[in-house]
């Protein structure tokens, strides 16, 4: 598979930060121009009179540029350079947290999760669409033979495992010919190669997991495929060895949907055609006399249960018929033009009038926790698309069993199909129409499209299809090629959605690379996907934790960190700007360069770096209320308006610090170094309190960083104040001895933090965001529960939600399809009990949910 060169990925958050940086840059330029002009005007009107400044009478033209350039220097700190460094640091820590997470270690194989791309953790919290592969991603890709129907007799229906069905064993030991033929096809109609270990055990090398399952099942039923020596196959059945010579192999292609082998029985020299394949490829070519109704029913029944079905058939060939055909086949094999097509045509000549032997049903079990994961993530407002190479029915069944779509009448499946442009267009329009109508109903509408129709839709009706993509929360795309998967990702990205692609195999690599976030499952199909992906996880269910815990925390933390970085830079910059108004607009810096550097690099960056440990809500709360992810998806914590809040805060704090320090340190105290240190102390104290106020949970590290930083501010300045050659010699000692210094600093803190605390408290208590409500509920155990006694406590909800679904977990040996049919009422119940926290419905981005709620 061609991996191509992946582009470096940029998170939505980085893009937003870049945008804000741009805005600040424009602001900076405006400030520089305005102050530059003001400075030059002031210079010409006032400073020329000030003999002590000694401006030369005549000056070259470029003197005009000097003042603006000085302001440019002063304002250059407005854009925090440290933000890039801090962000890189915390991002790599986010990635490390993912690597370290014990709860995301695959217990079976011991593989931990791994973040290959350390730069995009925030995007995990902003995912809107998840595009998932089916086989190996949702399922375990571990095929197990479960049931079969041989000549109209169903085996394994009672126990759910045909291999344990006594009747089948009886039939085998009684050597019923139908069963023997069936087993023979299972054992040798394949491309499996048996290998012997030194101890004499046999293991099989199979390209297809299905064939592997069939051969294993046949072996369990005493039809052991022992050896393959060139063209001679050896089979042991109840102690006797039977040999077959393989004459031809008619290989499987996705068009033919069947494969056959032509073998010669070495005992009696009979030539047999053994075929297995999809029902739609086998049943139509049964011999006219045979009743195929029983097989149709079997296939129907099995696929209803989410099992993968294969029909097995055989036919005895006459010698001359084979000879004749063999020549044609050889010729077809050696053609250069349209070889595949020619072979398929030739194969078709042989594969007819088959005697249907039976139907096998193979289970590809869902991975643990897939339904819960999908349900939780869908509650979090994430839309799911399933892109699979499998056939429609199986895909739909799997989708049903993992909460992907709801069964009737709650859910509705709309089908887009058609072989020609016109048919596809009509079907697309019909689906769109239904979709537009049903968006007002509380229904889970999903559409199903297959690869062919998708190709046409993408090519000719891209606009309509895009609209459909926006309207529909769920989609199943079956029979899609890797490049179509990537195209779908591209389509969603072009609508400005954040996409996450998850897959396990080589055919998902392109989609994974194309998506904003690629997640690979390090599964049975190798590590190809995991290597190409940004994140690799062991199991699908870890996706929930990856998104809800790691993604969300990363987003929240970066949102705070980046805005805070701007806040502190703007704070110091505003003070400099204000100072320029009382220093003759000449661009004097109030702070010495050492303080400025230490302010950005040290005093203000260390406390905020520790904010990577901040948790606004506990992991459990987030897992129970995945809806809260909405705040991240919608970018509620970092956008121009929150940024404006921080901008306003820095302006307010700059005014407080500046006004108080120049008035408290006026007249005889107005010594430059002292005033500058008073103002700087004010800034440092304020930022310590701002970080404290904005921190949600204090660990010991945060306390150390915040208050230790304040202490180290004094410590560092005392050191500099002890060096005679430094500009601030004795300043800090002098200040710390003055009562007026301390009264000024406390005044700055109280005046600066009072309104902010008041505002925050007011919002928190009287205009709470959903995060605040959950915080209160989590920490006080309070308000939500007191709102009504009808609602059970959050904890029981979780258990209730889990219990009906946990049937699919391994402790419970029941196959996947058991809960499928019985779980719909349970699912509904759990939706009901989750309703009090379903508060995001109203805020959903889709207009549809507005109306949906109105109807409720």
């Amino acid at each position: 598979m061609c991996r191509g060169i992946p582009e470096p990925k940029l998170t939505a958050m980085d893009a937003m930060i870049d945008k804000l940086t741009g805005a600040i840059f424009v602001f900076q330029i405006v400030v520089v121009i305005v102050l530059g002009i003001a400075g030059n005007v002031w210079k010409d009107t006032e400073a020329r009179k000030q003999w002590y400044v000694k401006y030369p009478e005549e000056s070259p033209w470029f003197e005009l540029l000097i003042i603006p350039l000085r302001f440019e220097l002063l304002c250059s700190i407005m854009i925090p350079i440290s933000i890039k460094v801090s962000l890189d640091l915390v991002k790599s820590l986010y990635a490390k947290f993912i690597d370290w997470d014990n709860e995301m270690i695959d217990q079976e194989t011991g593989t931990p999760s791994h973040a290959t791309n350390t730069a995009i953790s925030e995007d995990l919290g902003q995912v809107e669409y998840i595009l998932t592969d089916k086989t190996g991603t949702l399922t375990e890709n571990k095929m197990i033979f479960r049931r079969c129907c041989i000549n109209g007799v169903f085996y394994g229906n009672d126990s759910g495992d045909a291999l344990k069905d006594v009747e089948l064993h009886n039939a085998v030991s009684s050597r019923s010919p139908d069963v023997i033929h069936f087993l023979t096809v299972m054992a040798i109609c394949n491309t499996v190669i048996p290998m012997k270990t030194k101890t004499g055990d046999i293991f099989y090398k199979a390209q297809s997991q299905d064939e592997d399952a069939l051969v294993h099942a046949a072996a369990r039923l005493h039809m052991v495929f022992v050896n393959k020596n060139a063209n001679i196959l050896e089979i042991k059945f109840n102690g006797s060895t039977i040999q077959y010579e393989v004459l031809e192999t008619l290989e499987f292609t996705s068009d033919r949907k069947r494969m056959s082998v032509v073998v010669k029985d070495c005992q009696n020299g009979k030539i047999l055609l053994l075929t297995k394949g999809a029902d739609e490829a086998i049943l139509p070519i049964a011999c006219p006399g045979q009743q195929t109704r029983a097989f149709f029913e079997a296939v129907e029944q099995y696929s209803q249960l989410g099992l993968r079905t294969l029909c097995l058939a055989w036919r005895q060939l006459k010698e001359d018929e084979y000879e004749e055909w063999s020549l044609l086949f050889k010729e077809a094999n050696s053609t250069l033009v349209d070889r595949e097509w020619r072979i398929a045509e030739v194969c078709q000549r042989l594969e007819h009038d088959l005697e249907i032997l039976g139907v096998t049903a193979i289970e590809d079990r869902l991975q643990d926790g897939v339904p819960e994961t999908i349900e939780a993530l869908r509650k979090a407002g994430i839309n799911f698309w399933m892109l699979t190479g499998d056939k429609k029915n199986t895909a739909i069944q799997i989708a049903l069993s993992c909460n992907f779509i709801s069964p009737e009448p709650k859910g509705q499946l709309l089908l887009i199909d058609g072989k020609t442009e016109d048919e596809v267009r009509q079907s697309l329009e019909r689906v769109l129409l239904t979709m537009r109508i049903t968006t007002s109903e509380p229904k889970d509408v999903a559409f199903v499209v297959d690869g062919w129709a998708l190709e046409i839709a993408l090519k000719y009706y891209r606009k309509a299809f895009t609209e459909l993509a926006i309207l529909s929360r769920t989609a199943i795309c079956c029979r899609v090629t890797p490049s179509q998967k990537a195209q779908l990702v591209e389509l969603l990205k072009s609508c400005d959605y954040r996409t996450l692609a998850i897959g396990d195999g080589g055919n998902d690599v392109r989609m994974i690379q194309q998506a904003d976030i690629g997640v690979g499952i390090s599964g049975r199909e190798g590590l190809q996907a995991a290597r190409a992906a940004d994140y690799s996880i062991g199991k699908f269910r870890f996706l929930k934790r990856l998104i809800l815990v790691h993604g969300r925390y990363s987003y929240n933390r970066t949102a705070f960190l980046s805005q805070y970085s701007f806040y502190k830079s703007l704070l110091i910059c505003f003070i400099q700007i204000f100072f320029s108004f009382i220093s003759g607009v000449s661009g004097t810096s109030l702070f010495n360069s050492l303080s400025l550097m230490a302010y950005n690099v040290f005093y203000t960056s260390i406390p905020v770096l520790v904010s990577v440990l901040d948790k606004d809500l506990s992991e459990e709360t987030v897992m129970q209320h995945p809806q809260i992810l909405f705040y991240c998806q919608a970018g509620r914590l970092l956008n121009p308006s929150t940024f404006a809040g921080w901008f306003g805060r820095s302006l307010f704090h700059a005014i407080v610090v500046f006004v108080i320090s120049i008035h408290a340190y006026a007249y005889e105290k107005s010594e430059m170094e002292e005033v500058s240190m008073v103002a700087l102390s004010g800034c440092i104290w304020l930022q310590a309190f701002v970080v404290t106020l904005e921190t949600n949970s204090f660990t010991i590290l945060q306390c150390i960083a915040i208050w230790g930083n304040l202490a180290s501010f004094y410590f560092i300045n005392w050191i500099f104040s002890a060096i005679p050659s430094s500009g601030m010699y004795t300043i800090m000692f002098r200040l710390c001895r003055q009562p007026s210094y301390w009264t000024t600093v406390f005044l700055i803190v109280a005046a600066g933090m009072g309104p902010i605390l008041a505002l925050k408290y007011f919002r928190y208590t009287y205009r709470p965001s959903k995060i605040n409500i959950l915080q209160q509920a989590e920490r006080l155990g309070g308000p939500i529960l007191s709102l009504g006694s009808i609602e059970p406590q959050p904890r029981p909800i979780l258990e209730k939600e889990v219990s009906p679904l946990s049937i699919t977990q391994p402790k419970n040996r029941n196959p996947v399809y058991e809960p499928l049919l019985s779980d719909s009422p349970n699912t509904r119940r759990s939706f009901g009990s989750g309703a009090p926290f379903d508060f995001f419905q109203t805020q959903s981005r889709l207009s549809s949910s507005y109306s949906r709620n109105k109807d409720n």
């Binding site: 000030q50 002590y52 217990q107 661009g587 007249y667 660990t699 005679p724 009072g754």
Partner: protein
């Protein structure tokens, strides 16, 4: 999942050779499970905080206001009145011409008893000692090491004259304030202590003991005061005071101390030399006599600001209390 995580924790613990508490701490850090304190903004907490700040700040405000009011201060602006009548329309010409006598006499009346030490300041308004061009124009190296240091490029545009370097160089030194004051109470002259008016640290470590003024104020354009070239810079306290540049365009600098009490209704005659030019740029010159308190000189701002912030906190606390009472009653009615 919970079970799984518990087992991994157990499994990953024992093999580490580190002390148990340490590996546990590291594990808690990597699992983001460090014990954390999660404060909540409860009404009680917030209201109490505001009340507390209010009750602390208002007394502090009153105390600092009292301290500021206990300071007795006499401020006399003399720059206009000290220009003889015939030069009122041409103050600049008067100040620039050294042939005119610059002496001037002012009478100050002491309103309240002033306890020694009484600080004598000169105050300049609208004087930008913080102008960038001005602030930068000095060489700390040269002030400490004298001519040996050749880093005088910083001193532009006042670094050399007639090809010879200037000590002390730069605009700050060049524009040294040079008005002088003599105080007479009744018949006798008040003793003004002009020693120790500069910071000791400056005298000891910033201005050289062996650095003597050289080539100072020898140019065509004379700025401010001249220096006695036989006194080392470390003893030129007026210069040292002046060179501690002020951050604000209106500032006071210490001239000296009167070390005896002044009584109410004392009349003090000030004989001053009005040498310094503030006329060209509309600056003001004031003479200030002031006592001092634990907070420094007279400054009502901290007191008022404390009272303002304190009362504003109390108001917020009351508003929040009312809101809380109202709201909890509403909830009570609404949900029961």
């Amino acid at each position: 999942m919970d079970n799984g995580s518990a087992s991994t924790v157990e499994r990953s613990d024992p093999p580490t050779r580190k002390p148990l508490w340490r590996s546990q701490a590291i594990n808690k850090f990597t699992q983001q499970n460090l014990p954390a304190c999660k404060p909540v903004l409860t009404p009680t907490w917030v209201i109490l905080t505001f009340l507390l700040i209010g009750t602390i700040f208002i007394p502090i405000g009153l105390v600092s206001l009292h301290a500021s009011r206990s300071v007795v201060e006499i401020v006399d602006r003399y720059d206009i009145d000290c220009v003889p009548e015939q030069f009122k329309s041409n103050k600049l010409g008067y100040i620039k011409d050294s042939s005119y006598p610059k002496n001037c006499s002012r009478t100050l009346k002491v309103n309240r008893h002033m306890k020694a030490p009484i600080y004598i300041y000169y105050q300049l308004d609208n004087y930008y000692q913080n102008h960038r061009r001005y602030v930068k124009s000095r060489s700390n190296q040269q002030l400490l090491h004298g001519l040996g240091s050749n880093k005088t490029s910083l001193c532009k545009p006042e670094q050399s004259n007639n090809g010879l370097p200037i000590v002390p160089c730069g605009l700050v030194a060049w524009s040294l304030f040079n008005d002088t004051y003599k105080f007479i109470r009744g018949k006798s002259e008040l003793n003004v202590n002009r020693k120790n008016i500069a910071w000791k640290s400056d005298r000891d470590h910033k201005f050289g003991k062996h650095v003597y003024p050289f080539n100072f104020q020898n140019g065509t354009l004379i700025g401010g005061g001249k220096l006695n070239s036989s006194v080392p810079l470390s003893d030129q306290e007026d210069l040292i005071v002046w060179m501690r540049t002020a951050a604000l365009p209106s500032f006071r600098k210490l001239y000296g101390r009167i070390e005896e009490n002044l009584h109410a209704n004392d009349v003090i005659v000030v004989n001053l030399m009005n040498n310094y030019n503030t006329y060209s740029f509309g600056g003001k010159k004031k003479l200030v006599l002031s006592t001092s308190s634990w907070l420094g000189g007279k400054n009502d701002f901290p007191g008022f600001a404390y009272i303002f912030v304190g009362s504003y906190c109390i108001v917020i606390a009351i508003v929040f209390m009312l809101l809380h009472v109202k709201n909890s009653r509403n909830t009570h009615v609404g949900y029961n």
